[in-house]
Symmetry: C2
Subunit: 531 residues, 2 copies
């Protein structure tokens, strides 16, 4: 269905007509979908399409301009205007690319400043997009008229969270974890700093004393970092809802959290009842390759081939960096398939094939796939796990550093620093994961565990989304902890009270004893004096 | 298959022969099953039979004398001798009955003493049964020769826990929760006393300050209570394993915990990754009633009928108590089906039918079922939930008081105190749950939520048991918290260290300032003196 522009003439009417049409059909849930941009949408699209396919009325709302969000099958797409253009968005993406890959190793300050500025600019775009929709009265009116049963959103971009509050809809979040552990705070999930490593620390669940100290201090600092990240958006939400609110408060109303992991990836830790793990949702069974690709990879003989991508954010890299990788690939017997959209570099080795787009999961599922070079996004890593292919990982930003650490802990890959790596290092890493059989054995074992599940993550996701629609939420999964403040939650009032009682009893006892003792002494003294 | 006696001639040979036979077949897991007696076995039997039916080699080990454990289909049953008789066990059961139902309300001390003594005697029987098996060398040799893939056991009776340690088998526990929250302690699951009510308190998850104080103190006292409960068995285990051990330590090695609840019953609280909820496993779709029963209940007309049982421990009650219930039933228009094995009381009202055994789930699934009078065992309550029948509950012992509290909180039933209740009260409670439509509406809503699940609990149980067998455990679900002591787990060492650093810095600063200040003062004084 072609996207429909909201906020223009006739949009409200169309919404109403759709509602009336649906009322005549057999009951089906009405779901509002507000995704986050970039790879976040990639992981959500399959689920949204499946929900539509199973008969639900799924309405996807997106800005007119976005990096990756696009219409999905079996859904109605509605767009709303935003005050920026595609080329402006692309410019920021390119700038991001410069920051990520081509960082000048000689200037640390410049690097930090550049990263901060990129984050700041991206945050501003998110806020502008939010404002464009939330304060567009016509858009909000149309959405209200739909009378949705629930909203499915990615809280990485807070728009959907605020819309859920405004429209008073049961909300379902899909997330891989949020900065400052907001998902744990909001869902009242315990996450002890002694063995649950914080984001961006790259620690494992087995920490040294020093790491536990850093992890503990990180936990203490997180709320401050969050305040910076969410300040403008909270002001915006408070203005719309006409009450003081915060992201944590709004997110605490979530009916359900879909988490994009399972414990073949994440370190084991407590979960709340309204958390459903759907890690590996994106890796279906791999399909046969197109003839051209099949021919290319088959010519690799017993050596097999390597798949190389750096994710949806980075499709081309600076010439100098590209040459470094080509130099490495020249030295290995494997063939290489590289997702690369820039101009073809000079002296392209014969064993390397550059492609604008790769059927990544199908390639990894090919029996000749020997290694996967990836930036460490969760989607890619799960495709590696699903297909049992050892990995060479080069994290770029965000959670990728933590993600790859999880894979290294399980002995299924090696990590390189993309900013400082050399051809020799790339060759070493590829040879290691390909020729040292332990990597293959461990990833195959991990793959077997990951796939040995009683129900497929897609079915799980669809079931629980429909559950929330059917029952208008999941109130029975909401812990009473939400009704306590942190002082009560940690029983600090109880401890204080008990200590006070003990103190009073001790004081009273001491006082009484002293009093009795003095009385006795005085009597004795008086007796002696009399004597 | 008829039970085979272990520890006699030929038992080892049979075990070996079975092993050899199975090795020739297609791979199937070999599962050792050691259940707990009483209603615990009832809830486990269906799962064990299903595992056998799906091709696994399931070996059920039980004492020659037990209250309820009996051979199951598709399993091999092996028995071991114990130094007590069935009649001795029955005598203790009868004594238990006296304690539970016929308590003399006028003598509280006698009641407490009697309860304590019953518990003590039952505990002694458990220890004797454990000792009979664990130190029977022939039995243990045969079990070792089986080379099992895993053990499935109910840790309520600790025999299976110790056997798992001794045979070094991946262990799967099935439990509804244990005294002293041992299941939470062992699995490193957080259970904050601020909103997770402790056993036997009968509190809900929304506690007053006073209740939170009691719950907190209860948490502090629990380890002492546990020490009493497990002392002898820990001594026995340490003797067998030839190392000092505790129940918590042994249970911390569990690969998987099946919990006999879901959140339509239990209050929402954190769960660990190796916890799988299988509440409601025992209530399949109800079958049609035998003709005689169908005729009886159909004659009840629009008024419908009441189902009355007090569980597997209590099938007959003192005459005087029975008369009280009959007096009540005489006053209601419903028919009553009562599981009752004693002599038929005089003046049995026409609307009451006494039966030695009731097809409880089938009766509750009948459209004319109006109310369920139950002692509040989890099996019964889940049958009530499944079939959406409001309940009148009379808890007798153990977790039943807590169980019924959960149902009352959800507004699906009323509680009576079986020791002090009157006919009038019984009539009042039955009329209330039958005629006040809110009970029916709420239990039907609860039933709908309970049954709206992506996979049936039986399939879930079978899958995860086979998972543990296939992968020789579930190591990827084991939290790193197991490697920390409680001091580290709560980051107390980190906090101590940080506080020390802060103290040292403050002390050093104060010292330096004082030193500088003194130096300055001295110079000024000397200057003044010179002047």
């Amino acid at each position: 269905m072609p996207p429909e522009r909201l906020g223009g003439r006739g949009a409200g009417l169309t919404g109403l007509l759709l509602s009336i049409l649906c009322a005549d059909l057999a009951w089906a849930g009405k779901l509002l979908v507000i995704p986050a941009d970039g790879s976040h949408w990639t992981g959500m699209k399959m689920m949204v399409e499946e929900l539509g396919k199973r008969g639900n009325e799924v309405v996807l709302v997106m800005p007119e301009v976005s990096r990756s969000i696009g219409p999905a099958e079996h859904t109605t797409t509605l767009t709303y205007p935003v005050p920026y253009t595609k080329s402006q968005l692309q410019a920021i993406q390119m700038r991001n690319l410069d920051t990520l890959v081509a960082q000048d190793s000689s200037n640390l300050l410049k690097k930090i400043y550049s990263s901060y500025m990129t984050l700041q600019v991206m945050r501003n775009y998110t806020i502008v997009a939010c404002e464009s929709m939330l304060f567009n009265k016509e858009v909000m009116k149309i959405l209200r008229e739909y009378d949705f049963d629930a909203i499915l959103t990615d809280p990485f971009e807070p728009l959907g969270v605020i819309v859920a509050e405004y429209l008073d809809l049961p909300s379902i979040y899909i997330s891989g974890g949020l900065p400052c552990s907001v998902e744990s705070v909001s869902s009242q999930c315990p996450y002890p700093p002694s063995y649950v490593p914080r984001r961006f620390t790259r620690f494992t669940d087995h920490m040294t004393l020093w790491q536990r100290i850093v992890n503990f201090l990180w936990t203490a600092i997180e709320p401050v970092a969050c305040r910076w990240r969410y300040a403008s958006i909270e002001e915006l939400a408070s203005r719309l809802l006409q009450r003081k609110t915060s992201m944590t408060e709004m997110m605490s109303h979530a009916s359900l959290w879909f988490m994009r992991f399972d414990f073949t990836f994440e370190f084991p830790r407590p979960l709340m009842p309204n958390t459903v793990m759907i890690g590996g949702l994106n890796c279906e069974g791999s399909k046969p390759l197109p003839l051209e690709l099949e021919t290319f990879v088959n010519k690799s003989g017993d050596h097999g081939f390597v798949v190389f991508t750096l994710g949806s954010m980075v499709s081309q890299i600076p010439e100098e960096k590209a040459q470094l990788f080509l130099e490495a690939f020249r030295q290995i017997p494997q063939r290489v398939l590289w997702r690369y959209t820039g101009p073809t570099p000079a002296n392209l080795p014969q064993n390397v094939k550059l492609m604008k787009w790769l059927p990544q999961n199908d390639l990894l599922g090919h029996p000749k796939a020997r290694a996967f070079m990836t930036h460490g996004g969760t989607h890619g890593l799960y495709e590696g796990i699903c297909n049992g292919v050892p990995m060479v990982m080069m994290p770029l930003f965000g959670d990728q550093g933590d993600n790859v650490q999880r894979m290294v802990t399980r002995g299924v890959g090696e990590v390189l620093n993309i900013h400082y790596t050399t051809s020799e290092e790339v060759v070493w890493a590829l040879n290691k994961v390909i020729n040292d059989t332990s990597y293959k054995e461990k990833i195959q074992k991990l793959s077997a565990i990951h796939k040995d599940r009683p129900i497929e993550p897609l079915d799980l996701a669809v079931h629980w989304t429909e559950f929330v629609m059917r029952h208008k939420g999941a109130e029975h999964l909401r812990p009473a902890a939400h009704n306590l403040n942190w002082f009560q939650y940690h029983s600090l009032d109880v401890i204080g009270l008990l200590l006070s009682v003990v103190a009073i009893v001790i004081a009273a006892t001491v006082k009484s004893c002293t009093f009795c003792f003095r009385k006795c002494c005085r009597r004795k003294t008086q007796k002696k004096k009399k004597e």
